[in-house]
């Protein structure tokens, strides 16, 4: 590694930045072209799940924390957003913010309790907390139990954009997705992100260097919860409902699958994985429970033979480091 010069008025873009830029242009083109190729509502849902997976990947990929309960953030934000838009009649943008606020607070509380444990303990604790949130959602009156919150109005974002028009809704959702994606990119490629990676690689050494690792982990957990909530709240506006599916345990497993399949610790992996998993569910829906069997088999195959994931394998083949 070369020693960085102290005076760099116009820093030439590094190889990593260029590689990221190329891939990002591809992503932008794909997001722009997708609604003309596939059913727009399907694409919007896929974008929400892609953001959800990116949020999850921030923890497993860059801090090494496997959360097996991320549905609690997706689902709770989705409920709060749906309730805020339907019952309180809030502007959809504000309703989404309310959902994000809820998942962030939940993330801080759950994070504070669980980050003291590591590895599999952490995973089990998140499973248990997610189950608790699930039961709370089953019993809380405002979620309407099995029925969920139906008929959420899409309304006018910022009082201007009429989100009941599919084209505007698509732009709105795509903008939220790109915002979330770039937030993850920015967080990972910042001094904060470097410390997170240091914690992942060797936590005792990070502690010995004087970093308060618990604070960094908590911040990463809260950021991940907030972005997962952003995905859930946006999804509530897109599909116009919030239901127990989003907060139930299988959803926590699905986001793990998306990230594992796409490539843990890669920026684009969760996006690719989410699109594959959502498409798989969509096209195999007629086969009922076989979807679960196939998902399980994909899990097993990924863990045994394919641990880098799709994007990880591509990056490895191209020797690109920053996908």
């Amino acid at each position: 590694m070369s020693v960085p010069s102290t005076v760099a008025p116009v820093a030439a873009p590094s190889r990593e930045t260029r590689q990221f830029a190329v891939a990002f242009v591809v992503l932008l083109a794909a997001v722009a072209a997708a609604p003309f190729v596939a059913y727009p509502f399907f694409v919007m849902e896929a974008l929400c799940f892609a953001l959800f997976a990116c949020a999850f990947n921030l923890l497993i990929g860059y801090v090494g924390l496997l959360s097996f309960g991320h549905a609690m953030f997706l689902g709770s934000a989705s409920y709060v957003c749906a309730h805020a838009a339907k019952v309180w009649g809030l502007d959809p943008a504000l309703a989404i913010l309310a959902g994000v606020a809820c998942s962030t607070v939940l993330g801080v509380v759950v994070g504070a309790l669980s980050i003291r444990s590591q590895g599999i303990y952490f995973a089990m604790i998140t499973v248990a907390f997610a189950q608790m949130v699930y039961f709370l959602c089953v019993e809380a009156p405002f979620t309407h139990g099995e029925d969920g919150i139906q008929g959420v109005p899409q309304g006018r974002a910022f009082g201007l954009l009429d989100l009941s028009q599919p084209a505007l809704l698509y732009v709105f959702v795509a903008a939220i997705f790109l915002f979330g994606f770039l937030t993850v990119y920015r967080a990972v490629n910042s001094p904060f992100g470097e410390i997170l990676k240091a914690i992942r690689e060797n936590e005792p050494r990070a502690i010995s260097l004087g970093y308060r690792v618990q604070r960094y982990k908590l911040a990463a957990f809260a950021l991940s919860a907030a972005l997962a909530g952003l995905a859930g709240a946006t999804k509530a506006i897109v599909v116009q409902n919030a239901s127990l599916t989003d907060v139930a345990f299988p959803m926590s497993g699905e986001v793990v699958l998306m990230t594992l399949l796409g490539g843990m610790g890669t920026l684009y992996g969760p996006v690719v994985g989410a699109i594959v998993v959502v498409s798989m569910q969509n096209y195999l829906a007629q086969y009922g429970q076989w979807v679960t069997v196939i998902q399980g088999a994909v899990f097993v195959a990924c863990v045994l033979a394919f641990r880098r994931g799709i994007v990880g394998e591509i990056a490895n083949a191209l020797k690109w480091t920053s996908l």
């Binding site: 496997l66 590895g119 907390f129 997610a130 189950q131 069997v293």
Partner: protein
């Protein structure tokens, strides 16, 4: 303050009994998880699915082969345990030396496959399994009726738990096992076949889950989703008790079942969440669990 008038003594003891029954299942399942964790250092996410397989196994033995409950009690754990040992040999063994999180992910995938297959063939609804005739009926204890089958479940699972604890802590075989857990390399140098012990341990932990499944079959209906429903609570039990403590997982299992039962009497709304609330409190006070050693 707690609706003091409405609780009768029968209700209280009735819920205590249900709590002890659930506690037996929690204890058997978390014991199996603890045994597997000690040896393989992985959390067996497939534990719930294997518990469900145990119950289905009992159902098939009765309806396809005419083997009654007592046979199922022996045959089902053996069959499911052998299946577990096969999984360990063919799949889990490949992950040795990797981050234990991969073991968790692999067993989660296996759980999805097993559960999905059963749901495909049997739907989501439950199949009935009759209480064996020798254990039907109930006896009057004066303050409550005690169904014989429930008394049997509690007594039998407590004995199995105690026997497992005894075997691991007090016998020569258990000493080998503990040695292999403590330091597999040195245990191998002393001539122990550690890979075989790992396979058998996994099989044994799985057999405990299947046994819990057989015991549960006459009480809860035999459903493909029964494992997925219980696994999160069992994880919470293991976190509360502390991983790696055999006795701890047994005591915590029974105790939390009772606490859950009592919550149903005094504050029913919280009965589903009480275990998780206790977990949060324990994590605040003793992050390593009640019986766990602080790392």
């Amino acid at each position: 303050m707690f609706l003091g008038h409405a609780i009768t003594i029968q209700q209280l003891f009735g819920q205590l009994l249900i709590g002890l029954i659930n506690g037996s299942f929690y204890a058997l399942l978390s014991l199996g998880l603890a045994v597997i964790f000690g040896m393989l250092n992985i959390v067996n996410f497939a534990h719930g699915a294997l518990y469900m397989m145990g119950a289905f196994c009992a159902y098939f033995l009765l309806h396809e082969f005419g083997l009654n409950y007592w046979w199922a009690l022996i045959v089902a754990p053996l069959m499911v345990g052998a299946f577990g040992a096969l999984l360990e040999r063919t799949l889990l063994a490949r992950l040795r030396g990797l981050d234990p999180l991969y073991g968790l992910l692999l067993t989660f995938g296996l759980a999805l496959v097993v559960q999905g297959l059963f749901q495909n063939f049997f739907g989501a609804s439950g199949l009935p399994y009759a209480i064996p005739p020798q254990l039907s009926g109930a006896r009057n204890l004066g303050f409550m009726f005690l169904p014989n089958y429930r008394a049997w479940v509690i007594g039998f699972s407590a004995s199995i738990c105690f026997a497992t604890w005894f075997a691991i802590e007090k016998t020569r075989l258990g000493a080998y096992l503990r040695a292999a857990t403590e330091n597999p390399t040195i245990a191998r140098a002393f001539g122990l076949n550690v890979p075989r012990m790992i396979t058998l341990t996994y099989g044994f932990g799985v057999a405990l889950a299947a046994l819990a499944g057989v015991l549960a079959a006459p009480i809860n209906q035999v459903r493909p989703g029964m494992g997925a429903d219980i696994i999160a609570v069992v994880f919470a039990v293991v976190v509360i008790g502390g991983m790696g403590s055999i006795l701890g997982s047994i005591i915590t299992g029974f105790a939390l079942g009772v606490v859950e039962g009592l919550t149903k009497v005094f504050y029913p709304e919280a009965s589903n969440t009480v275990v998780f609330v206790i977990m949060a409190v324990v994590l605040l006070i003793r992050p390593a669990g009640l019986f766990g050693k602080v790392a």
